[in-house]
């Protein structure tokens, strides 16, 4: 697939350039900014800040699991509040916001050759509504009764009953309100990302020339726009059940000896709505990571991504299939057991396009020119953890194997490996990769390598052994693991080991934060294209790019995003906006 446009064959622009909104004051430049790059930094900073809260919460729950009975302040109520807020923050307010709001905002306009998102004002609103959602979420820590302790899945009826922390206090109301706000804010941003990719590309940037980062974020955004409404209605209905006493999800219930007024609702309906959102959500987090890691591997192995077209189709196939697998989260929910045949089959089919992506990543390394930079290290670590977590997904997706393992620590280990550790390793790799473009300076190499090794090895040591606790039958969401006949003494020691590793890995993140802040002023000057990369964001006239991104003239794209080590070319990379045919002598099969 040699795809180079001759310089005289580039089509003229279909529409003329529109004048950008130019900021008039410090406030409109740095705070109420309509520049996607500033919005990206705002999104990223907010997501990181709330992510730190989730990190501390994970330490608290590991204190309890690793050293049961030692810390009196961690009551069962508090423990359930910790796990609920940790899960919700990590999945929604950190990963979704950072990948789409952060990386999406920064990279989409730059990579497709646009001056900004197509609706900059709505884009700005998107961030402020997101911030409001985060503030509402945080406020629940200070509300009477504290935040909700219903588990991040918020399953009714318990989510809105007295036996659950925050169920009859403010916790659940604030949680649901915050999610509703988040979805409103995301929709504003998401429409922007989709329309910008479809309509805002520069001349010559065909869809099949888009870097895979853009494909990943674009597909994930389309999915999110289709999936979040299911969560939205579920939240609205539960809010009505809780606040007005309706019975969408509430059947007849006797709570502590008293008949409640609810009747006729279906708890399992909530689960279907939740997972109709919740499973695509996994890929909403994973697809941007897939895209970004493809570009990291290609750039740092100085080799085109192997099988680009297959990679694009795999992203689209995974995105589409992820809408017909949701009930694999519900094999033991009590739904009709015959659903199991259908959902196990669709779930295992997803393994095929996913495996293709893995093969193509490692085949990109094959006969490459591998530079073991920090982004490359994180990309390699991503493949290890993603393959590990993906393969345990084949256990849980295969309906009958899920029966003993469901609701155990095996599940916790699986999803942390595959949608916690793996995407976060990509986020780290991506930050080391693009930080020079955002700030003009490199992150410190020594601190970076320390951060990498502790995070990668530590996270593997946390989550790999945890699978075996689940195999033993240790349930998840147990605030106390006392008096468990199935747990041997050594299993408790293993839990202590996991906790200690969690504290070490958490500490390494403080080093990373220090590096982020310190390098803004003290990092080595990066120049415009330190990684000698081909994509458009590295070809901007200024670094960091100014408002409008590309100076006077928008770039014209002549080739795909992966012309690395082209035979006959002088350099080992040809940027997308460089004309001229350096086509290899042999046409690849």
């Amino acid at each position: 697939m040699v795809d180079v446009t001759p310089a005289d064959a580039v089509p003229p622009a279909e529409v003329g350039e529109v004048e950008l909104y130019h900021p008039h004051s410090w406030w409109t430049k740095y705070v109420f900014s309509q520049d996607a790059k500033v919005i990206a930094v705002q999104y990223s900073a907010t997501a990181t800040a709330i992510g730190l809260v989730a990190l501390v919460l994970s330490w608290l729950m590991r204190l309890q699991l690793g050293f049961p009975g030692t810390f009196d302040f961690i009551t069962p109520e508090a423990y359930y509040q910790f796990i609920t807020m940790h899960g919700m923050i990590m999945v929604i307010y950190l990963l979704t916001a950072l990948f789409l709001g952060g990386f999406g905002n920064y990279l989409i306009p730059l990579m497709v050759g646009a001056r900004d998102m197509v609706f900059p004002y709505v884009n700005m609103l998107s961030y402020w509504v997101y911030l409001l959602a985060v503030l509402v979420l945080v406020s629940s820590f200070f509300a009477p009764g504290g935040p909700t302790g219903a588990g991040w899945t918020l399953y009714p009826p318990q989510a809105i009953m007295t036996g659950t922390p925050g169920g009859q206090d403010w916790g659940i109301i604030l949680m649901l309100s915050s999610l509703i706000l988040f979805i409103i804010g995301f929709t504003m941003g998401g429409l922007n990302y989709v329309v910008t990719v479809l309509q805002g590309r520069t001349r010559g940037m065909t869809l099949m020339r888009l870097p895979l980062t853009v494909w990943g974020i674009f597909t994930a955004t389309v999915m999110a726009l289709l999936a979040f409404p299911a969560l939205f209605v579920a939240c609205v209905m539960m809010l009505l059940d809780r606040a007005l006493g309706t019975s969408f999800f509430m059947p007849a219930i006797v709570e502590m000896g008293q008949q409640l007024q609810h009747n006729g609702g279906s708890p399992i309906l909530f689960q279907h709505l939740f997972w109709f959102f919740g499973h695509p959500e996994v890929y909403i987090v994973a697809l941007p990571a897939f895209g970004i890691v493809s570009d990291l591997i290609s750039t740092h192995a100085r080799k085109n991504i192997f099988g680009y077209r297959m990679m694009v189709w795999a992203i689209i196939a995974i995105g589409a299939l992820s809408f017909v697998v949701w009930a694999h989260h519900m094999y033991v929910s009590g739904m009709n057991p015959y659903f199991g045949f259908f959902f196990a089959t669709t779930t295992l089919i997803i393994a095929v396009p996913t495996a293709i992506k893995v093969y193509n990543w490692v085949l990109t390394l094959w006969r490459g020119d591998i530079h073991l930079t920090i982004p490359m290290l994180f990309a390699l670590a991503f493949i290890v953890t993603f393959v590990n977590g993906g393969l345990t997904g084949l256990f849980l997706g295969n309906v009958v194997v899920d029966v003993p393992l469901s609701d155990t620590m095996f599940v916790v280990a699986h999803f942390h490996m595959v949608m916690g550790v793996a995407p976060i390793l990509v986020i780290f790799g991506a930050i080391y990769h693009w930080y020079p473009k955002v700030t003009g300076r490199m992150l410190d190499e020594t601190l970076g390598r320390f951060h990498f090794w502790v995070t990668f090895v530590g996270a593997y040591l946390i989550f790999f052994p945890m699978h075996y606790l689940g195999l033993m039958g240790v349930p998840r969401r147990y605030a106390e693991l006392t008096d468990m006949t199935i747990m041997t003494e050594s299993a408790h020691h293993l839990n202590s080991f996991i906790s200690i590793m969690a504290f070490i890995v958490g500490f390494a993140q403080m080093v990373f934060l220090f590096n982020l802040i310190w390098s803004i002023r003290h990092g080595r000057e990066a120049g415009g294209n330190p990684w000698r990369a081909t994509t458009l964001e590295w070809q901007t006239p200024e670094t960091p790019p100014a408002h409008g991104n590309f100076g006077k003239e928008l770039p014209i794209v002549y080739r795909w995003a992966y012309d690395y080590s082209v035979p006959g070319a002088k350099e080992d990379f040809i940027p997308q906006n460089v004309p001229g045919d350096f086509a290899p002598s042999r046409e690849p099969a």
Binding site: M1, A344, V352, L394, F395, V399, V401, D407, L481
Partner: protein, 295 residues
């Protein structure tokens, strides 16, 4: 070359951990060794794929790391290789799915001679109901739950009068007989889970869910709740004792039927205030059964 070393160590370490570590499943006590076998197949297939991918990566990093003057090979795609890999993957996935679905069809097909028993969950304790001499469980409804009728057995249903009720105490089962477990909850979601039996299923207020199994050895097994059900969730333990036929019948003879239990209460025992019930529920979960099952 630390990366190559670590990648190899991860593969070797993971395999050794799998083979040598003391953490493994509990000895099985039901007919679901099919599930264990499917897990073993899964470990083999996924273990081979994991080792192959990571070792291949390690080799690539060793062999193709940056050297001055050497460029990467320009190879955008290779249709043949990609097709082959897709076929091999599809075969591997099929090898997992087919035995899995085969065992699942057994799991959802309840044998005709299975005895129906009922497990009723509430925050945070387990109760049980066994069919009486007529072999049938009476109907039940959450709306029928009162202090005198905590399981909500329909008071007028003749089938329910001889049902044996085991309230917040241990359940006994005979070894070697297939059991269909009907699962009910009167408040929130719970999940009836005994690790040694491998099977589990959620309990949903307003519905009756089920699974089946055959206990294959006698012994005392701990019941765990496997679906978050509020702050008492981790203490919601119970006990199932699998007996020989003889011991089982002896135990059964000591239990009381619904009719026996509801008769004296009709002559005017005061309803317990709800706070008392809460206290006793928590007390049962936290003290008596725990200490017994731990021994």
């Amino acid at each position: 070359m630390a990366v190559v070393l670590v990648l190899v160590l991860i593969v070797v370490g993971s395999v050794l951990f799998h083979l040598l570590s003391p953490w493994w499943w509990t000895p099985i006590a039901s007919n679901w060794d099919y599930i264990d076998n499917t897990i073993i197949i899964s470990f083999w297939i996924t273990g081979i794929v994991f080792a192959a991918v990571v070792l291949f990566m390690a080799y690539c990093v060793l062999r193709f790391r940056h050297r001055e003057g050497i460029r990467a090979v320009y190879e955008p795609e290779n249709k043949r290789l990609e097709s082959w890999l897709m076929i091999v993957t599809a075969v591997g996935v099929t090898a997992l799915l087919v035995p899995g679905l085969f065992v699942w069809s057994r799991f959802v097909t309840v044998p005709g001679d299975a005895t129906e028993i009922e497990v009723v969950a509430q925050q945070w304790q387990w109760s049980f109901r066994l069919p009486g001499k007529d072999g049938k469980l009476g109907t039940s409804d959450t709306r029928d739950v009162t202090a005198d009728n905590p399981l909500g057995v329909a008071p007028k249903d003749p089938n329910g009068q001889d049902d044996v009720l085991v309230e917040a105490a241990d359940l006994h089962l005979p070894v070697g007989k297939p059991i269909k477990v009907l699962l009910r909850s009167i408040d929130v979601l719970h999940d009836f889970y005994i690790p040694e039996f491998r099977a589990k299923m959620d309990m949903i207020p307003g519905s009756v869910t089920y699974f089946w199994f055959t206990p294959t050895r006698t012994g005392t097994f701990q019941v765990l709740c496997a679906e978050l059900c509020g702050q008492g969730h981790p203490l919601m333990h119970g006990v199932v004792v699998v007996d020989t036929e003889q011991d089982y019948l002896a135990w059964l003879g000591q239990q009381q039927t619904f009719a026996q239990l509801s008769a004296p209460q009709q002559s005017g025992s005061a309803n317990q205030p709800p706070e008392k019930i809460i206290a006793s529920n928590l007390g049962v979960a936290a003290n008596s059964k725990l200490s017994r099952s731990a021994q």
